[in-house]
């Protein structure tokens, strides 16, 4: 993976590990239903920023880890995040030029897609449908995207990740 012109793979790994930790960190009951999809957000950012390094494969591995951490069906989030990564790669040239609020809307669509795919899987194995606030994490993710974007961009510039 590490070729001469690539730089700062450690930073990418650290952000992903942080996202995984945030996925299972205990929250108060009311906030549990608002927890944004940290791994999805970080994955989308790195797919936009360094599409030649982070892509479908990374999405699959991260999804598998999310499955292991959250006790969902093995492959449920892996499939969803793979598709999210693929779409982000297809769109990255366009989305990169958007202003941040427009990016946030795109991110909302991608996050909803992630939730929809994993909802399909859980409905398929016979779990009951969730209430309407099941979609709240996607909205939370949209609102948090500008901050993630700024934070990760400064990280990327600071450590010259390319």
């Amino acid at each position: 993976m590490i070729i001469g012109r690539h730089h700062g793979g450690g930073v990418i790994a650290v952000t992903f590990v942080t996202a995984l930790l945030l996925t299972i960190v205990p929250l108060p009951e009311w906030a549990r239903y608002l927890r944004p999809d940290w791994v999805g957000l970080v994955l989308i950012y790195w797919c936009l920023a360094v599409p030649d390094r982070v892509g479908v494969g990374t999405g699959w591995v991260m999804g598998l880890l999310v499955d292991l951490l959250t006790g969902s069906l093995l492959g449920q989030h892996a499939m969803a995040l793979t598709i999210v990564a693929y779409l982000t790669l297809r769109l990255h040239l366009r989305v990169r030029l958007f202003p941040v609020w427009q990016q946030a809307l795109t991110v909302l669509v991608l996050l909803i897609l992630h939730q929809l795919l994993s909802l399909w899987v859980s409905r398929f194995i016979g779990r009951p449908g969730p209430p309407l606030y099941y979609w709240a994490p996607s909205l939370a993710g949209m609102f948090i995207w500008p901050f993630i974007y700024i934070a990760l961009r400064s990280l990327r510039r600071g450590f010259r990740v390319s």
């Binding site: 951490l69 959250t70 006790g71 859980s122």
Partner: protein, 285 residues
């Protein structure tokens, strides 16, 4: 995904991979563990003394109660032997702790800090001080995942402690509610009834408290009454849990064993079989 859902091939893969995420779980667990350690090591002498006194009284009360329980248990076993009916007794337990990690909020699952290395197996029942909590679903080397009885995908055979009506308690997806959808309208069940595990599924040991009936609604238009129960276990508060190994030796087997022993004793006249004489009388009605 289909393989994970339908078959068991992937279980070992899952167990192996769960080692990968164990450091992450430990890292999330750490702040809580550290603060707990500080709280314990910085507790004042007076606090400890007070706690000690209250624990002592509690122990005394429980001991007094268990004396009576032992007498009742032996009596129960003797009566069952008279009826030649099988009754399983004796279970092995292990104390474990829940790890403070949050999982999918729409599934009622918890992570336990004991795994395959402690001989935990999938399907093993877990209890807390007040009743049945759930059962283990995935086992990794160091941790395992358990599903609570209130998960929507969980069902558990129970019976009413007062009159022995058997039914099934389904998880409702709400942490303080179980549903009993298969109770006929004319069945004798009322709020306040204690539901205990019936042991019929073969997975949970019989006789442990599961829930207390909270409300019964009779709708004449429906074949079954709508019964709601509150779990006895503190599903969202307990931190210490018990893992149970149901024991398969029933009283009948024990009886066979004692009879074999008696046979031996009779063959060997050196040892007088006096203490067993009363038992023999009881066994031949």
């Amino acid at each position: 995904m289909m393989m994970d859902h339908r078959q068991n091939h992937i279980k070992s893969l899952r167990a192996g991979l769960s080692v990968l995420v164990y450091p992450l779980q430990l890292a999330v667990e750490m702040p809580g563990a550290v603060s707990e350690w500080f709280r314990e090591s910085l507790a004042t002498r007076r606090q400890l003394q007070e706690e000690n006194v209250s624990l002592r009284t509690q122990l005394l009360m429980l001991k007094a109660r268990s004396q009576k329980l032992q007498a009742l248990e032996t009596e129960n076993i003797r009566l069952r032997e008279l009826l030649d009916s099988s009754f399983k007794i004796g279970e092995r337990v292990l104390v474990a702790e829940l790890m403070s990690v949050n999982l999918d909020p729409y599934k009622h699952q918890v992570v336990i800090n004991k795994g395959e290395l402690d001989k935990i197996y999938p399907g093993q029942p877990i209890l807390d001080a007040d009743g049945i909590m759930g059962q283990v679903v995935h086992v990794g080397p160091y941790t395992s995942t358990a599903v609570l009885i209130t998960d929507t995908a969980h069902a558990l055979p129970v019976q009413v402690n007062r009159n022995g009506i058997r039914t099934i308690a389904l998880g409702s997806g709400t942490i303080n509610r179980l549903e009993l959808p298969y109770i006929p309208n004319n069945a004798d069940i009322q709020p306040g009834d204690l539901l205990v595990s019936s042991g019929l599924g073969g997975r949970f040991p019989p006789g442990y408290p599961v829930a207390v009936v909270q409300g019964v609604q009779h709708d004449p238009g429906r074949p079954f009454a709508a019964v709601i129960a509150t779990p006895s276990a503190q599903l969202n508060r307990s931190r210490e849990i018990l893992l149970v190994w149901p024991d398969d030796t029933s009283t009948l087997e024990m009886k066979a064993a004692t009879q074999a022993e008696e046979q031996q004793l009779e063959d060997d006249p050196e040892v007088a079989p006096e203490p067993l004489a009363a038992d023999e009388e009881a066994e031949t009605p």
